[in-house]
C-alpha cells in the first residue's frame, strides 16, 4: 500500500498550485486555505499537507490566526490517529500556546476561552487515543461541553473515530470480547451489532466478535532471507580483472 504524505486525492487544483508555488507564503491565501479546511470538515475528506501549510502561514503571520480553524485542523488530525499529523500540527503552533497546555489544573491551567485551553483539551484526547485508552477517550469526550464544541464542526466525528478504532482492532485481534469492544467503540445493543456487522463486516458469536483474518492479524512467523544482488560483487569482479593473480 503506497502512501505519500504530500498527496491528497480530493485536493482542488487551485490549492495544489498554491502548495507547489511560492504563494504558500502569501498571507492572502489564508482565506482559501481556511475555506478548504471547512470543506474538509464537511465532506469528511482530509488533507494534512495543505492544513500544515495553513498552520505555517499562521506561524509567519500570527495576527491572521483564526483559533477555530486551528482547532478544526487538530480535530481532523485526531481522526487519523496514530499518524504523526497531530504532532506535526503542534510543532507549527506558537510555543507559548503549547507551553500553556502543560500548566497543571492546580495552577489554574490556561485561561478559559483561549486557544491554549482548546489545544490542551485536544492534546488530552490525542494522548488517550495513541495510548489505546479508547474507553477513557469516550468518557473524556463526554465530560465537558467544550469537547462537544470543538468537534462540532467536523461532520461525523464520532463515526470516524469508531471506524479508526475498528481498524486498529482488525489489525491486532482475531477475536475480541463483546463487552471490551462495546466500551472501545462506545456503542451497545442493537446499534453495536449493526455497526459491527454492516460497517466492519465482522461476525458476532455470542459474547465474542470474530474478526476475519487479514494480513496484519494473522501473526505468521517468517524467515527473512538475505537478498543478494550481483551488483554487490561488482567491485570484487572488477578487482579480479585489474589484478590478475
Amino acid at each position: 500500500m503506497g502512501f505519500a504524505f504530500d498527496v491528497a486525492p480530493d485536493r482542488p487544483e487551485n490549492i495544489d498550485t498554491i502548495l507547489n508555488g511560492l504563494d504558500r507564503y502569501n498571507p492572502e491565501t489564508t482565506g482559501l486555505f481556511q475555506e478548504y479546511v471547512s470543506q474538509q470538515c464537511e465532506n469528511q475528506t482530509y488533507d494534512c499537507y495543505a492544513n500544515l501549510a495553513l498552520l505555517k502561514l499562521y506561524q509567519f503571520n500570527p495576527d491572521r490566526t483564526r483559533d477555530e480553524t486551528v482547532t478544526n485542523i487538530l480535530v481532523k488530525a485526531l481522526t487519523v490517529f496514530p499518524s504523526p499529523d497531530f504532532n506535526l500540527g503542534l510543532s507549527l503552533l506558537p510555543p507559548h500556546v503549547v507551553a500553556q497546555t502543560r500548566l497543571s489544573s492546580a495552577s489554574g491551567g490556561p485561561a478559559s476561552g483561549t486557544l491554549a485551553e482548546a489545544v490542551q483539551h485536544l492534546t488530552k484526547l490525542h494522548h488517550q487515543l495513541v495510548n489505546a485508552s479508547y474507553t477513557a477517550f469516550w468518557s473524556t469526550l463526554d465530560s465537558d461541553d467544550l469537547y462537544a464544541d470543538l468537534v462540532a464542526d467536523v461532520q461525523g466525528f464520532e463515526e470516524l473515530m469508531r471506524v479508526r478504532i475498528a481498524v486498529v482492532v482488525s489489525q491486532c485481534m482475531q477475536e475480541v470480547q463483546r463487552d471490551v469492544l462495546e466500551s472501545w467503540l462506545n456503542v451497545s445493543g442493537e446499534k453495536f451489532e449493526r455497526f459491527v456487522r454492516e460497517v466492519c463486516g465482522w461476525k458476532i458469536d455470542g459474547q465474542t466478535v470474530k474478526v476475519p483474518e487479514n494480513k496484519e492479524n494473522s501473526a505468521q512467523g517468517t524467515v527473512v532471507r538475505e537478498t543478494v544482488k550481483f551488483e554487490q560483487f561488482g567491485r570484487m569482479v572488477k578487482r579480479a580483472y585489474e589484478q590478475p593473480a
Binding site: N87, L88, S91, P94, A99, N131
Partner: protein, 482 residues
C-alpha cells in the same frame, strides 16, 4: 583577511567602517539602518540600494568574506552588518542586469556561503529569542534590547527564505535536476543564469539550505518535500562537499524522526555515519573537527531511533554507539519512566537549534519560550506513549502463546492496561517506510521482528527470524585479502 575589516570593504561606504567605534558613528549606522528597513518593507529587505564601488578586487574580497564565519565574539552591530552585506551580495547576484560574471573562489564556496548565511540567521534568531525571554528574570544589556526592538526585520525569516527561493528560481535548478532525473540533459533547462557554475551551485545548495530552514522552523514534512528533485545517493552534487553531504543527511534523518519514520531516519544516519567512518582518514583535519560534533549528535539520534524501533545496526556504528552512549542506550532500550530523562537529554544534545519565524515579543518576555523546548515537549509526548513497548516486547519474545491475564499478572498491571499496551505496540510497529519516489512517499510495513495477534485473551506471538547475513561479511573480508 580579518573579519573585522570585512564589513568596511563590503559596504564600500566609508561611514560604515568598524575601525571607528565612536557613538556618533553608531548612531549614524542605526539611522541608516532604520531608513533602509523602512524603505524596503515590501521586498523583505532584499532590494537594497547598494554601492559596488571598488571594482573586481573588492568583489572578490566580498565573495570570500561571505563564506567566512563571523568571530565568536562578534558584537550585535557586526552581526547586523553582516546581514546587510549578505543582502547586498545576493542583491547584486540576483538583480544585476543579466548574470553576474564572476569567478567562484573555490568549488565549495557556494556551500560555504549558504551554510554561513543560514548559520548566522539561526544563531541570530536564537540569540534574540533568548534575550527577549531573559528580560523578565535577569538583567540584560538594555542597549542590545533596544537595537533588536528597533530592527525587527534584521535577519527576518521572510528575507532569508526569499534569498533561497530566488536563488533556486534564478538558476532554474529544480528544472535542471528534474530533467537529469528523467534521463535528459539538465543543461537544456539551465537558461542564461543556470548554465553558469556560480548560479547553479548557489541554487543547488539553496535547496539544501531550504531543507535546513524548514526543519529549524518545525515544518518537517515541507523540509522533506524540498528535496523532491534531489536524489540522495553518492553521485549527487552535494556529496562532493563533505559538510553539505553531512548536513543533508542530518536534517533529512531528523525530519524523518519527527515524522515517526524511525526506520527511514536510521537509514539516513547509518548511511552518512558509515561514510564518515570510512573516509575520516582522508579528511582534512579542520573539516573533520567541525563534523565530529555533528557525528556525535547523529549517534545520539541513532540511539533514540533504535530504542523506538529495534533494528540490527551496522557493526561500525554499533561499536561507535556502544562507546559513546552505551550506558544510555541500554537504559533507553529498557523503557519505562526511568528512560524518559535520557531521551530528553539526548534529544536536547542532538536536535537542531529550532527558531521561531517571527521576532520575539519584547513586551511580554515570558511568552518567548525557546522553540527547542517546544519541539522537545512534543517529542517527549511521543516517547511517553511508547515507553511500555520495550517491556511488552521483552516478555512476548519468550512465548508463542500467552494468556493476557497471566501476562498482566507478571507485569503487575490490569488486563485493560495491558490490552492497550499491546495495541499501542502493534500500531507502532507499523511504520511508513521509503521504497521509491519522493522522500515523503513510502509503504506501511511491519518494522519489528516481533508480531502478534489476540484471540480474545490469548496472545499468539510470531517472530520473523532473520537469516544470517553473510554477503557483507564475506565481501569485506575478501576485500581485505587483496
Amino acid at each position: 583577511m580579518s573579519v573585522r575589516q570585512a564589513p568596511g570593504h563590503q559596504q564600500g561606504a566609508p561611514e560604515r567602517s568598524m575601525g571607528d567605534d565612536s557613538d556618533v558613528e553608531e548612531e549614524a549606522l542605526a539611522n541608516d539602518y532604520r531608513e533602509q528597513v523602512d524603505y524596503d518593507g515590501e521586498d523583505y529587505g532584499l532590494d537594497r540600494q547598494m554601492s559596488l564601488g571598488g571594482g573586481p578586487q573588492d568583489l572578490h574580497a566580498q565573495l570570500v568574506a561571505a563564506a567566512q564565519p563571523l568571530e565568536y565574539q562578534a558584537t550585535l552591530e557586526t552581526k547586523i552588518q553582516s546581514y546587510d552585506s549578505y543582502c547586498n551580495l545576493f542583491h547584486f547576484i540576483l538583480n544585476s542586469e543579466g548574470p553576474v560574471d564572476i569567478e567562484v573562489p573555490s568549488h565549495y564556496w557556494a556551500w560555504d556561503v549558504i551554510d554561513e548565511f543560514i548559520y548566522q540567521f539561526n544563531s541570530f534568531c536564537s540569540y534574540r529569542q533568548r534575550i527577549a525571554f531573559q528580560q523578565s528574570t535577569t538583567a540584560v544589556n538594555e542597549d542590545e534590547v533596544a537595537i533588536l526592538r528597533e530592527n525587527p526585520s534584521v535577519w527576518g525569516c521572510y528575507s532569508v527564505l526569499n534569498v533561497l527561493y530566488s536563488l533556486i528560481q534564478k538558476s532554474q535548478i529544480s528544472e535542471q535536476l528534474a530533467a537529469t532525473k528523467r534521463g535528459e540533459d539538465g543543461k537544456q533547462y539551465a537558461g542564461e543564469y543556470g548554465s553558469r557554475p556560480l548560479y547553479q551551485m548557489l541554487g543547488y545548495f539553496s535547496i539544501i539550505g531550504l531543507l535546513r530552514v524548514h526543519c529549524l522552523l518545525g515544518d518537517f514534512s515541507l523540509a522533506l518535500k524540498t528535496l523532491d528533485d534531489i536524489e540522495l545517493n553518492k553521485r549527487a552534487m552535494f556529496a562532493r562537499v563533505m559538510a553539505a553531504n553531512f548536513t543533508t543527511y542530518y536534517y533529512v534523518g531528523f525530519s524523518y524522526m519527527m515524522m515517526h519514520r524511525y526506520a527511514d531516519a536510521l537509514r539516513m544516519f547509518n548511511h552518512i555515519l558509515i561514510y564518515v567512518s570510512r573516509t575520516k582518514n582522508f579528511q582534512k583535519n579542520a573539516q573533520y573537527d567541525s563534523i565530529s560534533k555533528k557525528n556525535d549528535q547523529m549517534l545520539a539520534l541513532v540511539a533514540i531511533c533504535v530504542s523506538f524501533s529495534p533494528t540490527r545496526l551496522d557493526d561500525t556504528i554499533h561499536t561507535a554507539l556502544r562507546e559513546k552512549y552505551g550506558e544510555q542506550l541500554t537504559r533507553m532500550q529498557r523503557g519505562g519512566p526511568e528512560s524518559l530523562p535520557l531521551f530528553e537529554e539526548l534529544f536536547r544534545q542532538a536536535c537542531p537549534k529550532f527558531i521561531s519565524p517571527t521576532p520575539p515579543d519584547f513586551e511580554n518576555p515570558q511568552i518567548n519560550i525557546d522553540p527547542v523546548e517546544h519541539q522537545l515537549s512534543i517529542f517527549m509526548e511521543e516517547v511517553k506513549n511508547n515507553m511500555w513497548s520495550p517491556t511488552v516486547r521483552s516478555y512476548l519474545k519468550l512465548y508463542t502463546t500467552m494468556d493476557l491475564t497471566k501476562l498482566a499478572g507478571f507485569l503487575d498491571v490490569d488486563a485493560d492496561t495491558l490490552r492497550s499496551w499491546l495495541l499501542v505496540n502493534k500500531q507502532r510497529s507499523r511504520q511508513v517506510r521509503y521504497a521509491e519516489g519522493g522522500l515523503l512517499e513510502g509503504d506501511v510495513v511491519n518494522s519489528s521482528d516481533l508480531d502478534y495477534a489476540m484471540q480474545g485473551d490469548i496472545i499468539h506471538v510470531s517472530e520473523a527470524k532473520v537469516g544470517r547475513k553473510l554477503v557483507d561479511w564475506y565481501l569485506r573480508n575478501l576485500a581485505r585479502t587483496y
